[in-house]
């Protein structure tokens, strides 16, 4: 790991069996949901370093949730665990029968955060939503969210409903890593320019290993509000199927009479997806434009890279 790497500490906490190791394995280690059934309980803390977009390194602390470990985190290991935290992710099993105890631990955790890392961002995941009947999900989530917001004061928390069995997991994690990307505004400005120049309806930027959406620009209204996480999920699944053949996919073009979508390797850390609906623009032109923009975005990605704006040659 290079010395210029920017490390950010992310704490994953929540009671044992709530699904912390499962979600981390799916997002960062190419597990499929079914494989998580074989995971054993995490002993103490498992550290993993995930290189994310070149210079950014996520330092994940997956904290085993059994009572004895939890007690230790709040006492003997308190400083070690809660110091220098950028993000706390607290996972709640929505089907848990010990709600009060869960809340008690959560509050202890916040207390320790407030003392040691008062600027940390807090995310609560109401997890295993697939186990709740579909028509109950909205209601139950709203209730939990309200409770959690209230109990978190004076800190503020962002809540997501998640399940490893659908795309909601990608939505939550996209939002979380989005907070951690240092030059994200700049990335967005450039993506907008790019989208406008090539006359795209929409452009998405994915982190290459996880397929989390890290930036997007939309020129045209789209119907599906959940499309980013859905696309992440769809493409990640396909990436996993390719890996069964010891291959990975390089590019993809999908069209019907209403649209054309191009997904292509972009920079060394990203894939880009471009959505076009103007049928008069040939595929080849879009592909060349994507190629031409590569170098520019490659530079941007280096956190302290030159900050000039986008100039491209367009055919």
């Amino acid at each position: 790991m290079s010395s210029t790497a920017m490390k950010k500490k992310v704490l994953l906490m929540g009671k044992s069996g709530s699904g912390k190791t499962s979600m981390r394995s799916i997002i960062f280690a190419n597990y499929i949901a079914r494989d998580t059934r074989r995971l054993g309980a995490t002993i103490d803390v498992e550290h993993s370093h995930v290189r994310f977009l070149g210079n950014l390194v996520l330092n994940l602390w997956d904290c085993g949730g059994q009572d004895t470990f939890m007690e230790n985190y709040f006492t003997s290991q308190r400083d070690n665990i809660f110091r220098n935290v950028e993000v706390l992710i607290y996972v709640f099993d929505v089907e848990s029968r010990e709600l009060e105890k869960d809340m008690h631990y959560y509050q202890s955790c916040l207390e320790a955060i407030l003392q040691n890392s008062p600027d940390a961002k807090v995310f609560c995941l109401v997890h295993k939503m697939d186990l709740v009947q579909e028509d109950q999900r909205d209601l139950i989530f709203k209730e939990r969210e309200e409770d959690l917001r209230r109990l978190s004061r004076p800190l503020s928390c962002t809540c997501f409903r998640t399940s490893i069995w659908d795309e909601t997991l990608y939505k939550a994690w996209s939002s979380i890593v989005y907070q951690l990307i240092p030059n994200v505004q700049q990335l967005e400005t450039n993506l907008r320019t790019f989208a406008q120049i090539i006359e795209a309806d929409e452009v998405l930027l994915f982190e290459r290993a996880t397929f989390l959406v890290i930036s997007h620009y939309q020129c045209k209204e789209q119907r599906d509000a959940h499309r980013f996480e859905k696309i992440s999920n769809i493409i990640k699944q396909f990436k996993l199927s390719c890996s069964k053949l010891a291959a990975s996919f390089q590019s993809m073009e999908v069209r019907n009479s209403n649209f054309a979508a191009f997904i292509d390797v972009f920079t060394s850390n990203t894939y880009v997806m471009v959505i076009m609906s103007d049928p008069s623009i040939p595929s080849a032109a879009t592909l060349i434009n994507i190629r031409n923009a590569r170098k520019h975005f490659e530079k941007l990605e280096r956190v302290d890279g030159p900050k000039h704006s986008l100039h491209m040659r367009i055919r």
Binding site: A33, R34, D130, W165, D201, E202, E221, Q222, R223, D224, R227, K230, I231, I234, I235, Q237, F238, S241, C242, K244, L245, A246, A247, S248, F249, Q250, S251, M252, E253, V254, R255, N256, S257, N258, F259, A261, I275, P282, S283, A284, A285, I288
Partner: protein, 387 residues
Amino acid sequence: MSIVHYEEEPLPDSYGPADSFPKDFGYGEEEEEEADIEDCCSAPSDSKPRILLMGLRRSGKSSIQKVVFHKMSPNETLFLESTNKIYKDDISSSSFVNFQIWDFPGQVDFFDPTFDYEMIFRGTGALIFVIDAQDDYVEALVRLHLTVTRAYRVNPDINFEVFIHKVDGLSDDHKIETQRDIHQRANDDLADASLEKLHLSFYLTSIYDHSIFEAFSKVVQKLIPQLPTLENLLNIFISNSGIEKAFLFDVVSKIYIATDSSPVDMQSYELCCDMIDVVIDVSCIYGLKEDGSGSAYDKESMAIIKLNNTTVLYLKEVTKFLALVCILREESFERKGLIDYNFHCFRKAIHEVFEVGVTVQRSMGPQPAAAPCNKALALNGTPRNTI
């Protein structure tokens, strides 16, 4: 640069009779007429040829039907309730193969007077018997024997297919051993009843991987009378286009209707299935009209996926229900113009094959349910606007 579209140009008619399908064929132009087509072709639904799903309770029949034909994720089948009466699923409006799938309750009482098994078996093309391989299967074998012998007496033309199911929980050795054992015992039982002529086919299946789609593909292929023609067309197409492997897929179910005669390797088939998922899912998100109308899969549907090992996957629309998925090398794909031209001819030929099929069936008029030609399923390959 532009992509050359051959499809707009009428090509010399090199296959079959020139008037075998309307020149203005196309989904766009005839959308409004499609309602008529459905009407005129649909016999009373009960008389459509059918595939039966039978087997003991909780063996996985409903799960199979939901996963293969309704895109249910395997995980969701945990919540399926036990079936308590025959569920007749008519998938002909969304799928190429114009049949009904009948999902039976676990315990069928052949002696119940309301259960008209003669009528049911007469109109049956294939009987799939599902055995839970994770459970003790002694009772299942008794049931299997009872079911197939009864069905055989009514209609000896039925294809008897045995799915040794839920093998996801078994080790590879255990799978083979189980298949051998079930095969042996089932055939011994038939021999004891002097029914050696009754042929059973066995498949190892699970809803958690592609084995169930592959098995269903085989079951359906046996019911397609045009299969040799399709294989032949695929062989000609791939050898002239530098393509390694091609599958003709029923898009909605990911069943492959036909493939060229080179051996099928499971991994390639799986990758093609996964490609269809990607294409349909992405098209559902971006490819519908603004108000959500329209169809994700339409006449212009097409996809190209390039892998880092010089493999290219190429998908093209063939009919409303069918897609061709090809596997080829990057260097062959450089001659995309040639491939597209050959594809155009292939597509035309396929349309003619099924057009003829439909005409022949129609000219025979309404068939009594017992007619042997019922095994030749009516095919939904080609909608048309003139009868």
